[in-house]
């Protein structure tokens, strides 16, 4: 296919004789964000360095526009990078740093033309760093630096943008801004982006395709929908303590033992209660939850026991009895649920049961 910007063929990357990731065949198309995820040390950065021609592949080939072995000068016009190395350029303003992206286009002495200046200004406008133009680069915050480095990469007018963990060190606002910016760039300029991310929830939202690296190979490739399902993430990161759910995120390890507190949950209101009990190290039971309730994944990750009911069915008598039996053995009951209706009518009865037994405690007290 000729519209592939980048394609690798049986690529093996690593240092010296040490293979880190092997057998890689993947491609990046114009207007597409491909995200690399995987545990620390899985080889994401090594792969990105190899793609950016900063590290020779141990075997295999990286094709750009179906061509291999492109010269440094040509490559500089096709690909730009934002890396994790911190730079500390002496006495450089942000504009100087951004202008350096025009390097492949300037003459022998690197003097900027009017057109170059225009491109620099556009790139700074796009990444919202115009107001930092005259500021010294070394005085910027991490978020500002990252945006300036992105502006530098943008004014290099690449077809492929390689970003190594661009969101580390940034706060949530700047993470979102940066990724939205990358998304916009991808669509407006139809560039291809290959990026490594540690924030799974962001990877899920921003990527068109995800490459999962595990055990020295590409373990899985697919759309976010295909990757973020079931227990795959848990497997990918080999999470043995705690858990990860694609929607509700990471949870710490459940407190084991006989339940001391029964939580009547439902509709997501129970989530903070479950997490608090986990922090306090109190084993608890909860129910009766519908299997499609938004707090169900959290409950099953944290509770010692979860009473469940099938989705969209009213809580049955059998489940109610089971829950009542567990509740009986618990020291206290917390009711996190605030709304009762046809489907969870039995939960209201559980609440009454707790009240008469004098076990009900207020949600906030604990």
């Amino acid at each position: 296919m000729s519209d592939q910007l980048l394609r690798t063929e049986n690529l093996i990357v690593g240092y010296g004789r040490h293979i880190i990731v092997q057998g890689m065949d993947f491609s990046v198309n114009p207007g597409e964000i491909v995200t690399l995820i995987g545990a620390n040390g899985a080889g994401k950065s090594t792969l990105l360095k190899t793609i950016a021609n900063q590290l020779a592949p141990l075997a295999g080939t990286v094709y750009l526009h179906d061509k291999a072995g492109i010269s440094e000068r040509e490559l500089a016009k096709i690909m730009s990078v934002v890396l994790t190395v911190r730079i500390d350029p002496e006495l450089m303003t942000c504009e100087d740093v951004v202008s350096s992206g025009r390097y492949p286009y300037t003459g022998r002495l690197g003097i900027l033309s009017e057109n170059d200046r225009q491109k620099v200004a556009e790139a700074m406008e796009m990444t919202h760093v115009t107001e930092l133009r005259e500021r010294a680069f070394s005085q910027l915050s991490d978020g500002q630096r990252q945006r300036v480095m992105l502006a530098r990469a943008v004014c290099q007018e690449p077809e492929i943008l390689v970003l190594d963990e661009p969101t580390s060190f940034l706060d949530m606002k700047h993470k979102l801004e940066l990724l939205m910016l990358i998304r916009r760039l991808t669509e407006e300029k139809q560039i291809g982006v290959i990026v490594s991310l540690h924030e799974l929830e962001l990877a899920e939202r921003v990527s068109d395709r995800i490459l999962c690296i595990r055990n020295g190979k590409i373990d899985r490739t697919g759309t976010p929908g295909e990757i973020f399902k079931d227990d795959y993430i848990r497997e990918l990161y080999q999470i043995s303590c705690g858990s990860y759910h694609p929607v509700t995120g990471a949870e710490l390890e459940a407190v084991k033992g006989k339940p001391e507190i029964f939580v009547i949950g439902g509709g997501g209101m129970g989530i903070p209660v479950y997490r608090r009990l986990q922090r306090q190290g109190i084993p608890f039971a909860c129910g009766v939850l519908h299997e499609n309730d938004m707090e169900y994944p959290v409950a099953s990750a944290l509770a010692a026991e979860v009473m469940t009911e099938k989705a969209f069915e009213p809580v049955s008598e059998i489940q109610f009895q089971k829950a009542a039996a567990v509740l009986e053995k618990c020291r206290n009951v917390i009711c996190a649920c605030t709304a009762f209706g046809t489907m969870n009518q039995k939960n209201f009865e559980l609440l009454k049961l707790a009240e008469t037994a004098g076990k009900l405690i207020k949600n906030q007290i604990l």
């Binding site: 016009k77 190395v85 006495l91 390097y103 022998r108 002495l109 003097i111 070394s138």
Partner: protein
Amino acid sequence: MKFNRKSRYIAGFLLLILCVVLFFCLNLLTGSSQMTLSKMLEVLTGNSSDTTAQNILLRIRLPRLSAAFLLGGALSVSGFLLQCFFGNPIAGPFVLGISSGAKLAVALVMVTALQIGISVSSWMMVLASFLGAMLSMGWILLISRKVRSMSLLIVSGVMLGYICSAVTELIVAFADDANIVNLHNWSMGSFSGTDWQDVRLMTSIILLCLLLTFLMSKPLNAYQLGEAYAENMGVNLKKFRITIILLSSILSACVTAFAGPVSFVGVAVPHLMKTLFGTAKPIIIIPASFLGGGVFCLGCDLLARNLFAPTELSISTVTAVFGAPVVIWIMLHRSMKNYE
């Protein structure tokens, strides 16, 4: 802002040129034999019949000050290159031991030549000096691969410098010959005794290197962002590294061959120029360092000759007095910045 920057550059260069002219005149006028301005102008325009004045000005002072200017400039440019290369603001040919390595090589060649009774040409001196500089450079490169710490690199450079100086002293002490007095003077660093032939040779070497260095200002600028980004911008790192090492070694070797080791100019002047121009852009700082280094050495030589006349100080004594505080200032300034 754009306009301000440009006018700052222009003003900076005008100031430097003015200083060059001023110190040229001062160096011509002062010395053990008094000279008046009108007499000097007469000699320079070729209207003087005073042969003593002609000899003093044209045979002694003019070549000497030309050497001071050219060699000072070469040292500063070499220092600037090393600073860019190692990403270290206090790197320089003297602190990294490159000058001392060159000194050792030259001393060896001179002593051997004296012993077997052949005279050493300037060319041979430059060559020996270059070889010595390259050996030291090789050592420093090895160290810089092993350690990432700036201060460790400098410490090992200074230590290398001491070792080379010690060996040089040893050679000088054991080579008993009348000519050793010259060798001793030279090993302390001095611009005295330069003749026109030397000046011609150093001019051709230095100006050629300066031109090549100037042509490297674009990749140097990219390199200031670090190797990874330089590579992404299309800089051929291998070629770049070799060129920078060769140029900085030739420049500092040339200085050592003609004037012996001259301390601190290579560190202090580029830094002063960066402060004066408010930028580290190689395209500005390379020519500025050359002019600035020239002025600095002219000024220092002026003091070396006149401060305790008729006794002459070694040039390193004077450059150290003015250069070392600048180095301390840089280090304090940087560590303060890190604490902020």
